[in-house]
């Protein structure tokens, strides 16, 4: 009879709430990027290059289709990412690990670009998204977030 009490006592720490909020912000900025592309569709279609030539000049419908597919795939990724954030919120440990892996890969790629290619990371370029990734990683890797996910897992196993 103590089990339900034990589960109820696992309080969601601020780091999990913060991490999930930041994941939401990340998905929102992605959605905003999709809207930007949709708003100036023709400009973006004109930039698609396949085999060294501009696809919009030789085959305009194909160029539109490529851009549509790209946007669709990115949109799907964002939806899945939001789902992942929801699972982190409910205390799934694997979701936390996957979210941390995404953030790590993104951070490491940015860092490689910065260290090897001398990429400028400023407010005008990618500072905000790098900051969000690092904050997500910090929040979800914290001891409280780890304990929370472990406690929820133990509570689920006990059910």
């Amino acid at each position: 009879m103590t089990r339900p009490d034990a589960r109820a006592r696992v309080k969601r720490p601020a780091s999990v709430i913060g991490g999930v909020l930041l994941m939401g912000v990340r998905a929102l900025t992605g959605g905003f990027a999709i809207l930007t592309v949709l708003a100036s569709w023709d400009t973006f279609v004109a930039t698609i290059v396949l085999n060294g030539e501009k696809l919009a000049q030789s085959d305009p419908p194909a160029a539109g289709a490529v851009l549509g597919w790209l946007l669709g795939a990115y949109g799907l990724y964002l939806v899945l990412y939001l789902g992942l954030a929801a699972l982190v919120f409910t205390g799934r440990n694997w979701a936390r690990v996957v979210a941390m892996s995404f953030a790590s890969v993104s951070i490491l790629l940015s860092f490689a670009d910065y260290a090897l290619n001398g990429a400028q990371i400023t407010l005008r370029t990618s500072l905000v998204s790098v900051t969000i990734d690092i904050l997500i990683l910090l929040a979800l890797s914290s001891t409280q977030a780890r304990h929370y996910a472990r406690a929820r897992r133990a509570a689920r196993a006990a059910r």
Binding site: I121, T122, L123, L127, T131, L137, S141
Partner: protein, 288 residues
């Protein structure tokens, strides 16, 4: 064949999940340092925005970067067994354990209430905000929360305090931990609770993390003796066992970098007394 290598050799097995967690924990530490560097670089290009950015930079450093670095390092080098010191949530050595109690939780709560001690609120967003506003406006907050300190790998069970001069920046306060079952103090003394009492004298910045925190008075023995005296005055039948030189006397720093000093004595307050009988004072000294 490499199959034999997969057999765990040591007695302590480390799970893959724990290794992965440690990896992300340390990677996040390095990433946060890089972020601090990026923000510092960015701020160089700002004119009027510099002040705003400096505050952001300090917040990042004090509340994310430095705590994470301390956690990574203290996990490696700060002992995790009882050495008479509490630890902060960042793993740093905190206030000294300078009091022990035998008795039930009810007896302890009753004795503290009788001695004019007020139980501190738990740390929540609301109570944290209230202590900030109360300190800034110098309004009294008798049940102000105390920061978490860890002993036996967990936060204190509860804390009591006495505000001084209606100022939330100054207060007597003492944190209590229930000892694990069967646990004994070094030397083999069995007690039910251990406690760490210190006097908050002002609000300032932590030396190690730059966070805003209470600065404590250096003379922790004065606070220890104040707690004992207040309880013995309110509950005269309290028995007192004074373990002389429980620890060597020392000068050190607590988790916020404040200097502390103690003579190393440990009073054990025995609350299981017979009502009506004046409590004795027993002094335990070592061989010499």
């Amino acid at each position: 064949m490499p199959e034999t290598a997969a057999v765990p050799s040591g007695r302590r097995r480390v799970s893959a999940g724990a290794v992965l967690d440690s990896f992300f924990f340390v990677l996040a530490g390095f990433a946060s340092v890089w972020l601090a560097v990026l923000l510092a670089t960015e701020s160089l290009g700002l004119g009027w925005g510099l002040l705003w950015f400096a505050v952001l930079f300090w917040a990042l450093l004090a509340y994310l970067v430095l705590p994470r670095l301390h956690r990574i390092l203290t996990r490696l080098y700060v002992p995790d067994y009882f050495i008479g010191r509490t630890r902060t949530s960042d793993g740093l050595l905190g206030d000294p354990v300078n009091l022990a109690i035998t008795g039930s939780a009810e007896q302890l709560h009753a004795a503290l209430a009788a001695a004019g001690w007020i139980r501190a609120d738990d740390v929540t967003l609301a109570s944290s905000w209230r202590i900030v506003t109360a300190t800034v406006s110098r309004r009294s907050y008798l049940r102000a929360p105390v920061s978490p300190l860890l002993l036996f790998d967990r936060v204190q069970d509860f804390a009591y305090q006495q505000e001084v001069a209606n100022n939330p920046a100054k207060r007597h306060h003492v944190r209590f931990w229930r000892c694990p079952d069967g646990w004994m103090l070094p030397g083999g003394h069995r007690v039910d609770w251990v406690a760490a009492g210190t006097f908050d004298r002002a609000v300032g910045l932590s030396l190690f993390t730059l966070q805003i925190t209470h600065k404590i008075d250096e003379h922790t023995d004065v606070e220890r003796d104040h707690i004992v005296a207040s309880i013995r005055q309110a509950v005269p039948e309290t028995r007192l066992v004074l373990i002389r030189d429980f620890a060597t006397g020392y000068h050190s720093r607590n988790g916020g970098g404040d200097t502390i000093q103690t003579d190393g004595d440990l009073p054990v307050i025995d609350l299981r007394a017979v009502p009506g009988e004046a409590g004795a004072v027993v002094e335990l000294t070592g061989l010499s």
